[in-house]
Symmetry: C2
Subunit: 509 residues, 2 copies
């Protein structure tokens, strides 16, 4: 029997359809069961919800995502065939039970995720099981390959292709907006795709979209890179490793990110753009994703090994991320700070030191010598700004943009010091919570501005940092949370004792 389509414009996470309860009974299906819906040549598997009133007998309510995918039309008709739970649910259970999955099993799960065959419950179970039971390197390699295979890829007409990525955890890490123009200005090719925030305050895509279009098509990424050397695109818009964004959707509300997923997510996207040389930035220090050196080395070794298996030359930089990078956190605020640096209005910053170091390593991977010095020259002589203007133009931004054109949120709360002394600690995790409470990354104007950083002297009731936002309620909520969390330490008598170690130099701001 045919069912008449009724479009239901609700954005559900899965492909969901609504059947009249009587029809569902007739078909022998219940709420949360699965059916195949066939519209002409398009067939998708959907999750069933039942209703007595939304649809009449003989009607099928089709929610947005399924509607789009089916290329259905309101009033048209479809066939509905009951089908069983996909086998990958059994495989997810196998992972919950602590078993190692084969490459084929992992491919099956990732394929089902990509086809929207899993419910939120099943997908969350997969993610939490991976978080807790982990995956070995074989599984992680298979996961990476499956994620590449289930998505699109780019093949540039130019080579070699360079790329880099910072593992999250260092708030304020807007270096992509510096590294890409520096590297491209030197004549190398860097088709950089970035993600939005999962558990961080904001991702590079969140930042750059405040000043340019980041939702680029694959062809645009290819052509812009071939023409001007670099691009800064949102990876989620193109269909690279599409499983990743579906997985992130359930990771996000839980703020978790399993190790295997973290590696595969990064490596699959680098593989998808055809990267030959890839530099990974691993920020360490309190409050970063990778707090200690030993773990950072494990990350480095695993990324390098997975790279080897995927035929990609990987190097890693362990960097200091124990306090926010630079002075701004939040989408517009970080775009502004990056522009200020490119414009030469800021000349001394941890952001600059990190960006030129990273670009320098990429230069040396390409065979150049004195990479860091070369990178600094390109930044200081204005070539990086000129390249950024080309990128802005190519991505429909304003090529004449000035940092002062970027306006952070209109609401502001000022957090002051609770005593005289020196700032001895800024708590990354708490600051990220504040920025998110203020609305970042969804509210573009939301974020934090630091007036003082570690080592600075401050007096009681002097401004320590500002909370900005687009929504007054959220800014007030963040300010209240700040009073509760106390995300900084000011110590009056003794400044923190810093033993002599081999840690990288810690810049003043």
């Amino acid at each position: 029997m045919k069912y008449k389509i009724k479009e239901i414009n609700v954005d559900a996470g899965e492909f969901t359809i609504i059947l009249n309860s009587a029809d569902a009974k007739e078909l022998g299906v219940r709420s949360l069961d699965r059916v195949k819906v066939i519209a002409g040549e398009h067939t998708i598997t959907c999750i069933v919800e039942t209703s007595d009133s939304v649809v009449s007998q003989g009607e099928i309510g089709i929610l947005c995502k399924a509607f789009e995918k089916l290329k259905a039309c309101d009033g048209g008709d479809v066939d509905v065939i009951p089908t069983s739970r996909p086998h990958s649910v059994e495989l997810i259970k196998k992972k919950i039970e602590g078993h190692v999955l084969t490459s084929d099993e992992i491919r099956e799960i990732i394929t089902d995720i990509t086809k929207h065959n899993l419910t939120d419950i099943e997908l969350t179970a997969y993610v939490v099981a991976c978080q807790l039971n982990g995956m070995n390197l074989d599984e992680t390699t298979a996961l990476t390959r499956s994620m590449v295979e289930t998505g699109d890829t780019i093949e540039l007409d130019k080579s070699p292709v360079f790329d880099f990525h910072s593992i999250g955890g260092a708030p304020g890490n807007k270096i992509t907006l510096l590294v890409v123009p520096i590297v491209a200005a030197a004549g190398l090719y860097i088709p950089k795709t970035s993600s939005r925030a999962i558990s961080s305050a904001c991702g590079t895509a969140d930042i750059f979209e405040t000043i340019a279009r980041v939702s680029l098509e694959i062809d645009e990424i290819k052509h812009i890179t071939e023409e001007i050397g670099g691009v800064i695109a949102w990876g989620g818009h193109v269909n690279f490793a599409p499983a990743d964004d579906l997985i992130i959707r359930v990771e996000y509300p839980l703020s978790i990110d399993p190790y295997s997923q973290l590696i595969a997510s990064v490596m699959a996207k680098k593989k998808a753009v055809g990267a030959d040389y890839f530099l990974l930035d691993i920020p360490t220090g309190p409050g970063t994703k990778v707090e200690d050196y030993e773990l950072a080395h494990k990350y480095a070794n695993d990324f390098i090994e997975i790279g080897r298996r995927l035929d990609m030359k990987v190097e890693c930089a362990i960097t200091y991320g124990g306090q926010p990078l630079g002075r701004h956190i939040g989408p517009k605020l970080e775009a502004q700070e990056a522009m200020q640096i490119l414009e030469g209005k800021i000349t001394r910053s941890s952001v600059i030191e990190k960006a030129v170091s990273m670009a320098g390593i990429l230069f040396e991977m390409s065979g150049m010598i004195n990479g860091k010095q070369k990178a600094r020259e390109i930044l200081e002589n204005g070539q990086a700004l000129a390249k950024m203007r080309q990128i802005l133009k190519a991505q429909d931004g304003d090529p004449n943009l000035k940092s002062e054109d970027i306006k952070p949120g209109e609401f502001k709360a000022v957090i002051t010091a609770n005593q005289d002394g020196y700032v001895t600690f800024l708590d990354n995790k708490k600051l990220v919570r504040l920025a998110r409470t203020a609305g970042s990354p969804r509210d573009h104007g939301a974020g934090l501005v630091f007036l003082k950083k570690r080592g600075d002297h401050i007096e009681k009731d002097q401004p320590m940092f500002e909370i900005h936002g687009d929504n007054e309620r959220k800014v007030l909520e963040a300010a209240a949370l700040s009073n509760r969390l106390k995300p900084y330490t000011v110590e009056g008598m003794i400044i923190e004792h810093i033993p002599s170690t081999t840690r990288p130099v810690e810049y003043e701001d």
Copy 2:
């Protein structure tokens, strides 16, 4: 601003509302954010979905569950206030990270679950984290108490109160339909509430609802027990430990059941009916939930200890569950077999042995001697059948019901032996999968009927068991699955060697 209510009759798992995208933007909320919805004196926290077409600006779409809870009316109006993610999401993350939760933290999570404050994603994360990281006895005690406190309770005017429970895992375990009438016929009080299947083929509530009303109100459970001694009710209808059913909703599609949740689920419901004496049945053997003796002893010790902390006298019976109990699996089929036993049409069965043993232990906990003998007398002299007729009458069933009145599903597939020999193994887990594929427990007529059991001789192509169902497609699917899974072993030459152990006697059928 007030929003006009539009009822959306979709059964979502959480309290969900739909806002027009423009209104959502105005309020500063996005899809999956939370808002408080205020209708007169009723306030609930809901999850936001956004839409451009389902609701116009100024309208709010309210889904079934939220609509009911708000006692809203179509066309009425409500206030909407954005609110932040509940703190218990942080606590769930703490459990994912492997920490021990305090009693207060557990109460907070359970309270939020009970209030429908958590999304499917968050609830699944909680369940999978408990499955993998476990809870200690302090946490489990707090979990039990929280589950009792967030629900209703019964106080009988009679005492002492007896109760029992079988941990799932032994398919065909319909003993409740025998134990309750036997115990009540002896003059004891047993207000038995049972659950529906989580990962098993069917639960007692699924079975008994095929011949009586199991959705009883608290007052009915109280009065029926006080008047005739026993009742068989569905625990999910009354508001005992309501968190449990919400948790089961996400456990069900994953077929998982964390240890701490298993204990708390059972104990909270026994505490809620005011049980003074509680007997726990722990089936062991291949394919049961508790496969080995050592683990069964851990279960027993933990239940007894939690009972002690809750002021309840607990005893445990470790029973043999290595193959299905009796010959029928499935809601109607199990009701039929139980009636056949009560009617005296079956006189020799593992079901009878187990039921009279369990009733016997309860009798001895009450101070009687020769409990098992007494139980067998009550079954054989017709007192148990008479009591069952009283229970059926009290629960709106047919007091004159005969076993032959119960009709299993009209579709049937016969599975035959692949060779001559003896049945040496019936695989519980695979058989459960078959029964579920055939439609059990949702389709009442679905299930399995064993013509041969362990130790029986069978010839090639002779019927081994039947698959029944209400839906032809599902029966065929189960038959195909049976061919793939091979849920039994027939061995021609050597019958399994069974070493001399202290295991309970294994009955023939």
